[in-house]
Symmetry: C2
Subunit: 555 residues, 2 copies
């Protein structure tokens, strides 16, 4: 009989930043009872996923084993940890557990997609534990950049696993629980089997800075400002929103929140009581009556999103408010790699308006929510785990984290999405590879990343398109000339004649020359016409476009 084992399987988040989804299991091989930690999304871009609305983990493996899944545990409320619940929970239909703030955000996700939020349970904080099959799971407070982040203490028959979630070591996080090393030490006092640990900031070799350190800088900046002050940050960073708002109020300004995400996050913070001393905000309508030197806006769009408040303000009037010469715009945020172009565009728009832009190049107005290398090492030292599994990060981050742990004598291994580890022994051991990937939310449907849908779009975007229609009569003779339409191609090329005319002439000629056996065969005719279109386009405009051939045969 097979022995029981403790397994770990990332379905998302390992080998990438974002889209977190981690499976733990205990039991005999193939009969393990499972829990899932987090179910997040990642965001599409024009480069690789044009037109896609959202990128979700491919949870096929888990769906096929849904009868063995006990529960889903949510570490915190960031999109890359809970964003897929609305779209994927209905495929799993198991209880969910989260602390109150995370639960409130998750409930909205579920309800937006018509899901059942009654399956969502509000968990108490450690030392309370939730039973889930062979697991007992506790929510251990940890500091991060959203209220109420929690590590999970996962007690298993093989020993205690600590899954850190995203975290930093912050003794003064402004909102929420400070990191409490004594509490963590007490969790570790009887030994930690495995520490499964955030890796995103492993390449930063400076000790992390506390959220509280930006307050004085921001207060000084706002106090010295003349015109309107507008600041952006991640909406979910409620501590930062509080710091910004307090800086505005200290400078005698009325403060207004702009952008739905910002307003929702503050509303949920108040509802759930995670913060009880937020200043009062005025509405956008009220803000239009406030003199600019007495006004501060806190807005969404720190990543340059085209429709967010920051971008709209950079392009002109937004909800009756307009920035002007002498105003200041503060990015109290970092730009996530890939978003630079959008952010820079906004900065230049503001420059054209005469608005002074302050970003975080000085390091004064933003701190990261993740543990840097020295902090990660401090965590290793605090937990003294028997093994370390680097979690959440690109491959290079996981690899470096594993190296750092190994150098201290802690057995470690790189396990990217789909790599199943056994944590039963003295060191993490790769025992299986599972097919994983990405699912795209595209309009209202889920499509597989490899279904060819996006590939088709990319090809049209890169190559342009010709649609060629040919009509054949009952005797397979062409009825008139072929008819061409183009999209995304130059209208005129080398010859100076319209490209569609050149295509129509050349394909008509090709049809005229074609043997009967080609004309009667749909595939051969398609191939002939396609080749003819591509050839004339190569000659005329130096490109070989995508071609759709439609042959209508009268019968």
């Amino acid at each position: 009989m097979k022995t029981e084992r403790l397994i770990y399987l990332p379905l998302g988040g390992s080998g990438e930043v974002g889209m977190n989804a981690y499976v733990y299991g205990w039991g005999r091989e193939g009969e393990e009872r499972l829990i899932l930690v987090d179910l997040g999304v990642t965001f599409p871009d024009m480069d690789g996923t044009p037109g896609v609305d959202l990128i979700l983990p491919d949870i096929t493996w888990l769906k096929e084993r849904a009868d063995r899944l006990e529960a889903i545990f949510l570490t915190h409320g960031h999109e890359d940890h809970i964003g897929a619940l609305g779209h994927l929970w209905k495929e799993l239909r198991v209880p969910m557990h989260a602390r109150i703030f995370t639960a409130a955000l998750s409930r909205r996700k579920l309800e937006e997609q018509g899901g059942d939020s009654s399956a969502l349970n509000v968990a108490d904080v450690w030392p309370a534990q939730v039973e889930a099959g062979p697991f007992r799971v506790g929510f251990l407070p940890v500091s991060h950049s959203i209220p109420e982040s929690s590590a999970l203490v996962i007690d298993t028959p093989a020993g205690r696993v600590v899954h850190t979630g995203d975290f930093k070591l912050d003794g003064s996080p402004v909102v929420g629980e400070a990191f409490d090393p004594e509490l963590w030490r007490s969790v570790a006092k009887d030994g930690i089997k495995a520490l499964v640990c955030d890796s995103t900031n492993i390449h930063n070799t400076h000790p992390g800075r506390s959220e509280a350190t930006v307050g004085p800088n921001i207060r000084e900046l706002v106090a010295g400002a003349g015109g309107m002050v507008v600041a952006t940050t991640f909406a979910s960073n409620v501590a930062r929103v509080k710091t910004l708002a307090e800086a505005g109020i200290a400078a005698g300004r009325s403060v207004c929140l702009l952008g739905r995400a910002m307003q929702r996050m503050v509303a949920v913070s108040r509802e759930t009581g995670v913060v009880d001393d937020l200043p009062n905000f005025i509405t956008a309508e009220e803000a239009t009556d406030v003199p600019r030197e007495s006004l501060m806006l806190i807005v969404t769009g720190s990543q340059g999103e085209r429709r967010a408040a920051s971008a709209q303000l950079s392009r002109g009037k937004y909800l009756g408010l307009k920035m002007a010469e002498g105003d200041m715009f503060l990015f109290s945020s970092k730009t996530i790699p890939g978003n630079e172009a959008g952010v820079i565009q906004i900065m230049n728009n503001f420059s054209e308006l005469g608005v002074d832009v302050v970003d975080d190049s000085s390091g004064d107005y933003h701190v990261s929510g993740h543990a840097n290398r020295p902090d990660l090492e401090a965590m290793h030292d605090l937990m003294r785990p028997s093994m370390l599994v680097p979690m959440h990060g690109e491959h290079r981050m996981l690899r470096r984290h594993a190296e750092v742990a190994s150098a201290k004598g802690i057995p470690s291994v790189v396990a990217v999405n789909g790599t199943m580890l056994s944590l039963s022994g003295d060191a993490p051991e790769v025992i299986d590879h599972v097919e994983t990937g990405r699912t795209y939310l595209d309009g209202s449907v889920l499509v597989g990343a490899l279904d060819g849908v996006v590939r088709g779009r990319m090809r049209m975007a890169l190559n342009g398109l010709v649609v060629l229609t040919v009509l054949l009569d009952e005797n397979d003779a062409p009825l008139g000339d072929p008819w061409a339409e183009i999209m995304g191609l130059a209208e005129t090329g080398r010859s100076g004649a319209p490209l569609v005319e050149r295509i129509e002439e050349q394909t008509a000629a090709a049809l005229g020359r074609a043997e009967n056996k080609t004309i009667v065969d749909d595939d051969k005719l398609d191939e002939l016409l396609r080749r003819s279109v591509r050839q004339v386009c190569a000659e005329e405009i130096g490109r070989k476009p995508e071609v759709i051939v439609v042959v209508s045969r009268l019968t």
Copy 2:
């Protein structure tokens, strides 16, 4: 009678980084004799210009005045200063002037496009001057990140203008002429009417570092490496290539250059004598016989370009060479904003191979080729111009540069592409706005940025495409059902039936319900069918795609 005036008109490079093209003119309004400084390109991306090969300035204004254009002067050989010559010189057909290294690179550009390189003159260095109508232009050596960069001393009837080109203040540039403040002071001794000055690094408040400072760091890094060492940098940074190669040789390694741009740049450097002490390089074939611990490769692809040597090596074997566990890859370069995703992908590919990646996050292995703010201020102080025109940079850079100059009492103004200044008076004065823009090289044709070609591609990429074909007989009755083809859309939606079938059913039904006056009218019928397609797609897959309707009427 109108008085004569000195004008300045950027057609590219002002309001952006890249695509430099600056016009100067002297004469009566509308009769000015003109010169053009630089004619560069900028690079397309999937975000905004999918499928485009190259982005060139729109020189319509200049073409219409080509009879008044005396000459083109080229400051240095970077693509964003000479890259458009091959495509646009034939529209202007005037003499070009450049120093020998820049001329050699420019000649290749012209010849690749069948242009006439006999119009290209090799200029001597300052104090030599080239006559061009009312201008006398001298090439004043300045340090940058490519050999032989030159500022232009432009003597005009209104006084002396210095156009810096791209530059830094480097007393030890490794290759080429050190910045010589005494020479520059002598140029300025009788007064500078206007300093037209590089702005790209105005936001960096640290004094710039010399190219020579990276040598010791790179030597130490390479000396300590065990396996194969591969380094990338901008191919045109011949000084850096030399530094890297010498570090390899000092560590007892044979050095091989990979990538066409790298080999071409080194060949041109040798041909033109700008560097005479480059080490010998081995070929890729020879490199396959060298033990990895005795080998160093210097490769193209510092910006993550998919086809460059670095990307190919990160994906596996390239020209018989393959990186492995224990090897090192050095980015002796910075990542240009917008290229992060490609560079990070390569880093992660290398991580998967077990290759250690060293980038410039420490600041030890790369220095910029542009003057930072303190260096720009030093240049202002050295030149003491009567006015300053910030040139080459995004709007926010030009604006900050103008502020810095104004704060020192030097009259300045922001002039983005298309802004014509008079430099005749005591301060730069905006006297006209000219229509400018971008031209796309797309395959073998030039298309205007606003021609809709790229817009069509973007729409297909974002929305997907449906092609609907309808056949009508002599009596305007449908011959069979409409025929749908899709590209870039999910094959099945909400109903579970194939999307094409649902489209065909719904459009057949719409045709059946249509009044005769709609069916006989091409536009109305197109509109009806298009609306029907978009509606069924919205229901089935939650998207409204692009639609091409082809109606064939038998007559």
